[in-house]
């Protein structure tokens, strides 16, 4: 699978941890704390996989999903008590917080094989 892995979370420390962990495994990841900047990037760069937090300033995770090509695998990370899914918006999976970081690593690795 071609393209980069994109991780979007308004929590900078999570972006930092995730990119450090994947780096150790030889996987490059591009992180964004701002969803609008992330959409612009995804739509102009080949993207293999998007992992995106649901609750963010400006545009939510579901807004991001709606504004990028449907064929890019998209995982939604959510700490909500109820994930407010929207009709017609498809995601590859939902990770509910709190979760072990291994789950994210597994998802990335499974998509890059």
């Amino acid at each position: 699978m071609k393209g980069e892995v994109v991780y979007i979370d308004d929590e900078p420390m999570l972006c930092r941890a995730f990119s450090a962990i994947l780096m150790q495994r030889g996987i490059a990841v591009t992180t964004f704390t701002d969803s609008v900047a992330a959409i612009a990037h995804i739509n102009s760069h080949p993207t293999a996989l998007v992992i995106c937090d649901y609750r963010m300033p400006r545009l939510s995770g579901l807004d991001v999903r709606a504004q990028i090509p449907d064929d890019i695998p998209f995982y939604l990370v959510s700490g909500e008590l109820d994930v407010p899914m929207r009709e017609g918006v498809k995601v590859s999976g939902i990770l509910t917080k709190p979760f072990r970081i291994e789950r994210l690593v597994e998802i990335v690795e499974s998509h890059l094989k």
Binding site: E11, L14, I21, P57, L81, P98
Partner: protein, 489 residues
């Protein structure tokens, strides 16, 4: 004038001058003299002179009772009746006092009788009315649920009704045995008492005045007094009306407890609305802790002590961050007590925002906070925090609907008050909404998003702190202003 003529003239003059109905008869019950009042009393219509005529011919309806009285008196007896009821032909009733007695000639032979009749109907009726009135007043005094007490200016009790004795728990003998107003009044009311007495002197009445009486059993009973001055036989007294406020106070306490429950319930509802944000804000540090534990393990595995150390520091920061949320939560959710404490409003705002910011992340709204240091109030911090959260939540919901999305929170103070103002970029509140919004259960938010209690409870809380919560007029956006009396640190 001969002697006989002079005697008759004298008789007529005397009988005519008597202020009663009077008539003098000879042995055959013929009139020798009578006055005008006699004729009027008998309802007799004539030229007014009955002399020489027989009483029984003029008044054939004279009863046998009267005829026998006349006979007995002709024999020498004197009869009188202090109260005699006379049923009039028209159905009315008259009350009479009369005396019948014989008169004697020079040689002591009985010459006839003299009758005096006094119509005392008016006096009798007046007296009955007085008695009825007295019974009524006495009944009122005995049965009144309001305590009544008459005391001298020096405080010595003269009269007390059962309701009053009931309030103070003494029996009548004890109360009449020299109890004084002062014995039953706690010393702390001395200054108030002096003030009420002064009012009494200048305006002749006092009250409504709320104080306590010390009951015989030592308990203090809350009462409301009203009173006025009366003159009785040249001396001045004070009439006091005493209401027992115990039941009312119990009710007030119950209402107060209900109010505290309502505040707690609203707070929990607000907390429920904020739960998603709080969960998110706790989850993030948890995620960071887990991720950096993983990073630290990687670093330890490859012998990178610096990276491991750095990761562990991040973990500690994240722990602290989660701890702050929990602290804010505890502070907000705990049951408010009745005790006030010195509260630094700036510090309270900081604590409240730690919790409240959890809401801000999902939707952008720029929050700017400006706090003037050392703005202190005497307050219940939990309740004040609740008001802040309510106002911020409202501001947030309004700002979200606007284009530029901002909230301004300022804390400042002037000579008398600490002023907290929360302004948002939302549209101004419609006058129809503004007039209703402080009412309980009024809300413009969609179902499930607001309890409709926020502003009503907030205003109640602030007013209980002796302050005010208002919507600022003449502001382009929406600004709520809280004022609470300021205290020095």
């Amino acid at each position: 004038m001969d002697t006989a003529a002079q005697a008759r003239w004298l008789l007529d003059a005397v009988v005519g001058a008597v202020p009663l109905s009077a008539a003098v008869f000879d042995r055959e019950m013929r009139y020798l003299a009578h006055n005008g009042s006699w004729i009027a009393a008998h309802g007799y219509q004539c030229d007014g002179d009955l002399r020489g005529r027989s009483h029984y011919e003029v008044f054939p309806e004279i009863t046998e009772d009267w005829r026998s009285i006349h006979r007995r008196c002709m024999e020498g007896s004197t009869e009188r009746r202090e109260l005699d009821v006379f049923e009039r032909a028209d159905g009315g009733r008259e009350y009479l006092r009369w005396v019948v007695s014989p008169w004697r000639k020079a040689e002591h032979e009985i010459g006839g009788i003299i009758i005096f009749v006094e119509n005392i109907t008016e006096q009798v009726i007046t007296q009955r009315r007085l008695q009825e009135r007295e019974a009524l007043v006495d009944d009122l005094f005995q049965k009144s649920p309001v305590g009544l007490n008459l005391c001298r200016m020096d405080g010595l009790w003269v009269e007390s009704n059962p309701a009053f004795l009931d309030i103070i728990g003494y029996n009548r003998e004890e109360a009449d045995g020299g109890l004084t107003y002062w014995q039953l009044t706690p010393r702390k009311y001395d200054a108030d008492e002096a003030q009420q007495l002064e009012r009494l002197r200048t305006t002749h009445h006092y009250g409504p005045y709320e104080k306590e009486f010390i009951r015989k059993d030592g308990k203090h009973v809350p009462v409301r007094l009203n009173g006025f001055l009366v003159e009785r036989e040249g001396e001045t007294y004070i009439w006091s009306l005493i209401e027992d406020l115990t039941a009312q106070r119990t009710l007030e306490v119950a209402v107060d407890q209900e109010r505290v429950k309502a505040i707690q319930a609203t707070k929990l509802a607000t907390l429920g609305e904020m739960a998603a944000g709080i969960a998110h804000e706790i989850n993030n540090p948890l995620g960071i802790i887990d991720a950096f534990a993983f990073v630290a393990r990687d670093a330890v595995a490859r012998g990178d002590a610096t990276a491991a150390h750095e990761a562990l520091e991040v973990i500690r920061d994240a722990t602290e961050r989660a701890g702050k949320i929990v602290h804010g939560l505890k502070r907000f959710a705990r049951q408010s007590t009745d005790d006030t404490e010195l509260v630094d409003v700036g510090k309270l705002v900081e604590d409240t925002l730690t919790l409240w910011r959890t809401r801000m992340r999902s939707d952008a709204a720029e929050l700017s906070v400006s706090v003037e240091q050392d703005a202190c109030v005497q307050a219940r911090p939990v309740e004040l925090g609740q008001v802040l959260v309510n106002l911020l939540n409202n501001a947030f919901d309004a700002a979200r609907k606007s284009d530029d999305r901002w909230i301004d929170l300022t804390v400042a103070f002037d000579a008398s008050d600490v002023v907290i103002s929360v302004e948002d970029s939302g549209p101004p509140i419609l006058p129809t909404v503004a007039s209703e919004m402080f009412r309980a259960f009024f809300t413009t938010k969609p179902a499930g998003e607001g309890t409709g209690l926020g502003l009503s409870i907030s205003r109640e809380i602030i007013e209980r702190h002796g302050g005010s919560l208002v919507l600022a007029a003449e502001v382009a956006n929406t600004r709520f202003v809280v004022r609470i009396p300021r205290v020095d640190r």
